[in-house]
Amino acid sequence: MSLIASSIRSENIHFKRNPYKIGALLLFFVAAIYGLQNGYTLYQTQTEEIEKIKIKNKKTSDQVIQWFAEGKSGPENRPWINISDPYWSLWYTPSPVCKTPSGLMPLSIGQAEQFGYYKQVSNRSTPYDADLAEEIANPERLAIGTLDFSFVILFLLPAILLVLLFNIGGLEKDLGFEHLIYISVSDHKIWILGRYLYYLIIIVATILFTVLPYSILTKSMLEHPGKMLHFFLYTFLYVISWMAIFFIVSVAFSGSKNISIVMVALWLTLTVVLPGTSHQLTTLNYPATYMTDLLDAKREEADKISELPKEKIKNLLIASFPELRNSLHYSDTSINEEIINNSVSYLVNNMMKETARKIEVLHEEKNSFIKKLYLINPVGFFQNKLNGIADTDYYSFQLFRNKIQDRINKKVSLMASESWNKVAVDSVRYQQYLKELND
């Protein structure tokens, strides 16, 4: 232990005298703050945007409540709208689904810029609508990527470690006094390990020091302590893994030039080449889909359902939504075409759900393949883990799509059941809709 302690002390002296290493650590510190700030800015932007949506929706619902209070049937320039009809009332019920950013977003932006994060749900919506496209952004900037905190950890940190560690054991060889070291220390590997430990302590302290203020700002430390702990654990594991790799290099190779070349080659292979290779392999096996089935279903199959005879639609509705048997319209001897038309979206939604499910299955196959490639792409593994913890990975957005689907289900079910029960909507009923179709 005393050897480790003494080598930590001597490394402290070496570090303080080395402007390159101090510069490298400062660069890491500045980049970490820059990355965290980028993530925090995105977190704030999304939070503010969601607030704006809520305000806009409040205006819409207040307007409808005012129509009820004034005895109006809807907007003056749209005489065909009757707000007491469940169809129109629900049409005018804002049903937003928002993916509130996690307080951990500053730690990892992940795929958050590739997806939309809010949606106004209507009875014709699907989780794959064009309005769920990502925020308006410069595509070249998206392709280059954002320098966020996880990028700093996953890509910059190993490079910084490289600068901090490349001459440990190598410099002595360069200057020709390695034998002096071997004589003066009982085990030169322990001596190297001690010097490595010094940098481990510095790096971990820097990470904690930079992350803590942001976790206080977003309250993530209080609200998601488990996730924060997970984030730190994976980060620590990642740092340790790199240090272990570099330690082997320091021990196995001699001379700082050789060590640095091997370290750079490993860094480049693990962070650029292998992820790029697994990306290429995945695309070859699972090319991007053009969603033709979904487009066909949305454009044609939906129309086919609407064009069916009303009697047939009625029977299909009863078969897929048995609760309608208890409705007023079920016992009517004649078919009310308007009620049937207002309920068609229930059937269309069922069909679209099935098509969307098939797409999700396809995507999951691709994801399974990606996960299998983690063996050759360990950085990809850590990347997706950190994104998952920060709720910015593919699966977080899949959950968001599921939430959208649930809201659509609720809306079309309400539309069908309220229409079949011939409900005359008033202000109280409308506010119930608002409650049911909002978070």
């Binding site: 308006i136 070249e140 280059i144 890509f155």
Partner: protein, 467 residues
């Protein structure tokens, strides 16, 4: 100088490690090129299939009301150019499918990046990834000690005695390493040319791309050897060049890209759509008979045909109303999307100008641009698609208005021949000449860097001696 170049080559050839590395890189470059070509071929085939499927759907419409057909619409698919296999650029982060329909200008959707977990922060293993990131690093490793070794071993004195000056030494050693880089480049571009379908424009682009890479490698190599001459020892040179490489290739592009978005801020999607909707609602609502603009239009048409009621018109007023709404919508689109495109172009110019401090950015821009996978090509596609949408909808609205039906006859249908007569969308890349105008800054930056560093070596290092 020739003797030094030859000697450098002999030294390089003696290095068995380098020989092995060269064989390895040659195989990797060939394999990556072939795989990328195959991947793009597969992608093009899939895209063509989807496009044909949608066209078939359109051409199989038996009979339909022209306005219903405008709602039925069609889908356009963003193509990738043949040399897009070299550099994927923005292709995987932008959508590929665009719905074309009446009343609405949709967003392009279904990007590859949104269809799975994240795999790589630097994209797929394409030729561009190897040639932009890895080969320059290899060249750094070959070059970083070429002058410092001469100094440390004392051979540099001998070279000075033999009549060489520092500038000649730097140039000779640079040429030797640079030629090695060109050799690796040539392998890749040769494979690309072999696999490329005969296309004059694409070949021209590929050859220009070769020149761009040659220039960049020159900057990297001569810069490294210049530092090798200036700095005290190998460690200092290696640390400086590696730090420079990381800063140039990994960090500055991201930082400057982010900065460009902050300097020229784009509106949020919600704010953008709200302002577009507001502007559009001021116009004629295609389905809103009480609109003020419609009244004016109606009066104008009635006067033109000298009748007092739309029912007496020999044409279908609904079609005219729809087209007027479209034209107003087009003005709104031009205003708002035009504003966005202007901002995007400003961001791009800002980013391009940062090539003054980072030649890698110029290389990256030219690589994407010449491969047809940059933002300019993306916007060009969207603009061409919008032009097609306008023609497509106008044909349908005109048919609705002047095809024989009267106002309010929504049951009137058009026959299959009419739908088949509407031509399909065909996209062509912008000509190389017009593209180069957008990339003058990057070309000047690269040439400027090469000229600057040559001048420094030529005039500042000629009389200096490092002993």
């Amino acid at each position: 100088m020739n003797t030094i170049v030859v000697n450098e080559w002999k030294n390089l050839a003696r290095d068995k490690g380098l020989l092995m590395a060269s064989i390895f890189f040659a195989i990797v470059l060939i394999a990556v090129s072939i795989i990328s070509v195959e991947e793009v071929k597969q992608s093009k085939d899939n895209q063509q299939k989807a496009q044909n499927h949608m066209r078939e759907k359109w051409e199989s419409i038996d009979s339909m009301n022209a306005h219903s057909a405008a709602h039925y619409g069609t889908y356009l698919y963003k193509p990738i150019s043949a040399i897009g296999n070299f550099d994927e650029g923005v292709y995987s982060v932008t959508g590929k499918v665009l719905r074309i329909e009446g009343h609405v200008q949709n967003e392009i959707v279904y990007s590859e990046a949104s269809q799975s977990l994240l795999m790589s922060k630097f994209g797929k293993l394409k030729s561009s990834l190897i040639l932009q990131y890895i080969i320059p690093l290899l060249l750094i490793f070959l070059a970083f000690n070429s002058m410092s070794n001469e100094k440390e071993s004392g051979r540099v004195k001998l070279l000075y005695l033999q009549g060489a000056n520092t500038a000649q030494l730097i140039f000779s050693k640079s040429i030797a390493v640079w030629m090695y880089g060109i050799l690796l480049l040539s392998i890749t571009f040769f494979v690309q040319l072999l696999w490329l379908p005969p296309d004059y424009d694409q070949t021209q682009r590929l050859l220009l791309l070769f020149v761009v890479f040659v220039l960049y490698y020159y900057i990297m190599v001569i810069g490294t050897i210049y530092l090798s001459a200036k700095l005290k020892n190998n460690t200092a040179v290696l640390t400086m060049t590696l730090a420079g490489w990381m800063l140039w290739t990994i960090f500055l592009p991201k930082i400057l890209g982010n900065t460009s978005e902050k300097v020229f801020q784009l509106p949020s999607r919600q704010a953008f759509l709200t302002s577009m909707q507001e502007d559009r609602s001021k116009g004629i609502d295609g389905h809103n008979p009480s609109d003020k603009r419609e009244k004016e239009l109606k009066e104008k048409v009635l006067k033109e045909y000298n009748v007092t009621d739309v029912k007496d018109l020999p044409i279908n007023f609904d079609g005219i109303r729809m087209q007027a709404d479209e034209e107003y919508g087009n003005q709104v689109w031009d205003k708002h999307f035009g504003n966005n495109y202007t901002l995007l172009k400003k961001q791009k110019t800002f980013y391009q100008l940062s090539g003054i401090i980072n030649p890698f950015i110029s290389l990256q821009n030219l690589s994407m641009g010449l491969c047809g996978t940059d933002m300019h090509h993306h916007i060009h596609f969207l603009q061409q698609a919008e032009l097609y949408r306008r023609e497509f909808i106008k044909l349908l609205n005109d048919r609705h208005a002047f095809g024989g039906s009267k106002t309010g006859e929504w049951e009137w249908t058009e026959k299959n021949e009419f739908f088949r007569s509407i031509k399909d969308f065909e996209y062509r890349n912008p000509a190389l000449g017009s593209l180069l105008q957008s990339y003058q800054v990057d070309l000047f930056c690269l040439i400027g860097w090469a000229a600057l560093i040559t001048t420094i070596v030529l005039f500042k290092e000629k009389k200096k001696e490092y002993v």
